[in-house]
Amino acid sequence: MTDYISRYSKAGRIFIPRLFQGFPEIKEALISNRMQAGFMVAPMAIALRSQGVPIRIVYLGHRYGSAVVVRKDGPINDVPDLRGRTIAIPSRFSDERLIVFRVLKKYGIKPSELKMVEMAPADVAGALAAGAIDAFSMGEPFPSQAEMVGFGRVLFHARQHWPDYISCVLVVREDMIQRRPDAVQILVDGIARSGLWLDDGRPNREHAADFVARYYYNQDPRLLRWALTNPLDRVIYTRLSPLRADFDLIRDLMIETGVLDRKIEFEDYTNVEFAEGARHKKPWSYSPGSNSAE
């Protein structure tokens, strides 16, 4: 969305968005410097930094927007019904996995009582419809897809059990931060302004669903429209500065669930100066379909 709008801005376009189908591929592209920045799940970014990969989390992609989905007419009606079932997650290093652990703990269920499988996000809806899995924990628009098509039902949204839940974060390679801080700031500013523009109301969300689905996601615009408006705060795009409390919680859950072997401090894997720089930004002044943005 930021790219689409910034095409028409006076500042011009200084980055190229590149579509991937899974987080492991993004990880490899960042390590090899084929990508200088990328959106990935927060635990993966923390784990990579902990392993010495030269990246920093500079901003969030959104808040909320993940859910656990089960078959609409299936036998799972509450969290305890997940016992003995198979649930798909996007990665071991994902908030979608952590939210499942968090909820299981709340209900006194041991993680060993269900089976978790890693699956590319694009594959989960088909797997659920075909009965290959019993549930999935995934970011939008896949919960919406299951609801909209009619074979799935949201068991719970992540925010119901994890206030201020975050999933995807923007990471940037450290050499990029050192060499082109101006470019990183323009990108973060653009995301901040896009988020404010999106959260300005339903018409902007509907227009965004249309052009993002058509030009970036190659998905049915009705699907993104569902994800962005049903209800309007299903995913939110403001309050995107990285906060220590959010990340300490994620880090501690990672340690507790065995995907991080040591405590890593917030300052060691984030750089908040760009978020600070974007703090007072205003929403894009952009009307969908127009050829100018300010």
């Binding site: 200084i14 980055f15 590149r18 987080f23 990508m35 990328g38 959106f39 990935m40 995807c168």
Partner: protein, 52 residues
């Protein structure tokens, strides 16, 4: 023009046409050319997946 020359010419024209169509429809020249620019002039690549 004999028969074998006609066949060779047809194959070459067909290959050329398919190659031009492929490079126009399937390759992102903006990305390819950007990757060949000096690092200081390059736009930077931002990875995303179609998930919120």
């Amino acid at each position: 023009m004999n028969r074998s020359k006609k066949i060779v010419l047809t194959v070459l024209v067909w290959l050329g046409g398919i190659s031009v169509l492929h490079s126009a429809l399937n390759l992102d020249w903006g990305v390819i050319l950007n990757d060949r620019l000096p690092e200081s002039q390059r736009k930077f690549n931002v990875a995303f997946i179609p998930v919120t």
